[in-house]
């Protein structure tokens, strides 16, 4: 029994070592004075200083954030409108639309990226910021729809009619009755698409062309060119950001959970 517990405990520990070792190495070597990925040469903050004056990185960071914000907003808007409309379609048509929605999710990123690139070439749109944004909107919409649709399904179909009955115009009925009900799904869609956009490399790689780079593409070309500890510094910062965000989100949802539990026992 005791032996079993020790084995189980150490197995999990090993898995965690495996998961975190590379991350730890990345972070430690972001403070490395030597320009090496793996030979320690003393402590320095130089790479962080260089990072913040590296125009290429800063501009691609800007591109990443702008594309993420815009594509998340557009995709969520389109998805919200679509979900409200989907409810009125016949079953057959809705099934067709939903199957089309699943295609980009099921497709390998490689194929999605290539096919969008071919589309832009075919439409003679020069690859650049616009195509990058369009591509991100394209792969984000399905995820946004899948986040909002369950909320839409929970919605009482008569709410909208009740609002009209009480004298609301359709636009008012949507704004005052439907939207508030599906809001949690909309927020989820927003967050999800934003993170997906920030995280994407493959599709951006094929659709951004030579003139525009987002962070992922910049890192990729830096990583392939030569050893550059600025990448480590960037990784460390990104990891820290993600960590803080996750902990905050988690802490908040825990607190909310605690609240509802209390509410119930009272």
């Amino acid at each position: 029994m005791k032996l079993g517990r020790a084995v189980r405990g150490s197995y999990l520990s090993l898995v965690f070592v495996f998961l975190y070792a590379p991350v730890a190495v990345l972070i430690v070597f972001s403070f490395n004075a030597a320009k090496s990925r793996s030979v320690w040469g003393g402590f320095t903050l130089e790479w962080y200083r260089k990072l913040f004056s590296n125009a290429e990185i800063l501009s691609s960071l800007r591109v990443t954030l702008i594309v993420a914000l815009l594509s998340a907003a557009i995709a969520t808007l389109v998805a919200t409108v679509t979900c409200i409309g989907l409810d009125g379609l016949t079953k057959r048509r809705r099934a067709v639309v939903m199957n089309l929605t699943y295609v980009p999710i099921v497709n390998p990123d490689l194929v999605t990226g290539i096919s969008l690139m071919l589309l832009f070439v075919f439409l003679q749109l020069p690859l650049g910021f616009v195509t990058l944004l369009l591509a991100h909107v394209a792969f984000n919409i399905p995820y946004a729809i899948l986040s909002i649709l369950p909320k839409m399904k929970q919605l009482d179909r008569h709410l909208y009619e009740a609002a009209l009955d009480l004298g609301a115009k359709p636009s008012q009925a949507i704004a005052r009755v439907i939207l508030p009900e599906i809001m949690p799904g909309v927020v989820t869609a927003m967050i999800l698409t934003f993170t997906l956009s920030i995280d994407d490399f493959v599709i951006s790689y094929f659709t951004s062309g030579a003139s525009v780079s987002n962070l992922a593409i910049t890192i990729y070309s830096m990583a392939r060119k030569s050893v550059n500890p600025q990448i480590n510094a960037l990784s460390a910062l990104m990891f820290l950001t993600v960590l803080v965000l996750l902990l905050v989100v988690n802490f908040r949802s825990n607190r909310d959970l605690g609240k509802t539990k209390e509410g119930r026992t009272r």
Binding site: Y20, V25, R37, A138, T195
Partner: protein, 300 residues
């Protein structure tokens, strides 16, 4: 509700951004640009796949052990090689991931409610960009990297970990392990405790409770985990490009190079179509056994 017109713009959107691009891949696969700039129908793309230069079939080095050389077209060789690596990585993810998922789920069942801190810890590295996670392994595995330094320090011979099957496989396992663990975990935590008790009640000891009840019940999670690992492993170009040192060819980076460097779009598109059909078919094969499970839903 009379609001169905609100869905129509999206229908148009999917036609342009989902259907048309895929049709274009097919279009490019079956056409070639003529010297005068027009496009003409051709089967050259597919022909070059099945009738390209012959190379000895690479079976992860095993062909040397058995002393057999089979000549196959270059692209077929790359395809077979990618399939081997992807399958092996998927298997490794399953072998290492299942116990991890099982232990995490067991802890979860004991603790009841609240957040599972360990699961959170498990997910956090996933939130780092795949690029960075892969890049991190370079520092560990390079010839004078940290692993070799440690090996040398304890008096063991240095090993060659990068630019070969091992390095690529490791990169895949590292990147995709969570895709295996999370679906299995999410199925395992939902396994009704009373089913385990029922099995015990009917005479099953712990081993057989596992093999006869828990394992079969977790199969949907395993299936979706296998899917979620196999597909990106089969199609990645990032991992062979970063960890392969420019020499290592898998189907993913072959296609990427054909498009971006060689610019042979006919062959590249033909390869993409073959890959897509293969991946979708294997996925379909797997999901047949997946009864109403939403495995991927736990990722975020």
């Amino acid at each position: 509700m009379r609001l169905r017109w609100l869905a129509y713009p999206y229908v148009l959107w999917t036609v342009v951004f989902t259907v048309a691009p895929l049709l274009l891949v097919a279009w490019f696969a079956f056409t070639a640009v003529q010297p005068d700039g027009s496009s003409a129908f051709t089967l050259d793309g597919f022909r070059s796949i099945v009738a390209g230069d012959r190379v000895p079939l690479d079976l992860l080095g095993l062909q040397e052990v058995f002393g057999l050389t089979v000549g196959v077209p270059l692209y077929v060789n790359v395809f077979v090689k990618s399939l081997q690596i992807a399958l092996l990585s998927t298997l490794a993810c399953l072998l290492f991931g299942y116990p991890a998922a099982y232990l995490l789920a067991r802890r979860r069942a004991r603790q009841r409610g609240g957040t599972d801190l360990l699961l959170l810890l498990f997910v956090i590295p996933m939130w780092m960009n795949a690029l960075l996670r892969t890049y991190a392994w370079l520092a560990l595995l390079e010839p004078n990297g940290i692993v070799n330094t440690v090996l040398a320090a304890v008096g063991l011979p240095k090993g060659q970990f990068l630019y070969n099957d091992f390095g690529i496989g490791l990169g895949m396992v590292y990147n995709y392990l969570p895709f295996m663990v999370l679906p299995i975990y999410s199925v395992l935590v939902k396994v009704d405790r009373s089913l385990v008790e029922a099995a015990e009640d009917l005479g099953a000891d712990r081993r057989r409770v596992f093999t006869r009840v828990v394992l079969p019940l977790s199969m949907p999670g395993v299936m979706s985990g296998v899917n979620m690992v196999f597909m990106p492993a089969m199609t990645t170009f990032l991992i062979p490009n970063l960890l392969g040192g420019g020499r290592y060819m898998l189907i993913g980076n072959v296609i990427e190079r054909q498009y971006m460097i060689a610019r042979d779009w006919t062959t590249a598109s033909a390869l993409s179509i073959v890959l897509l059909v293969f991946v979708l078919a294997s996925m379909r094969f797997m999901t047949r056994y997946e009864k109403g499970n939403e495995g991927g839903g736990v990722l975020l």
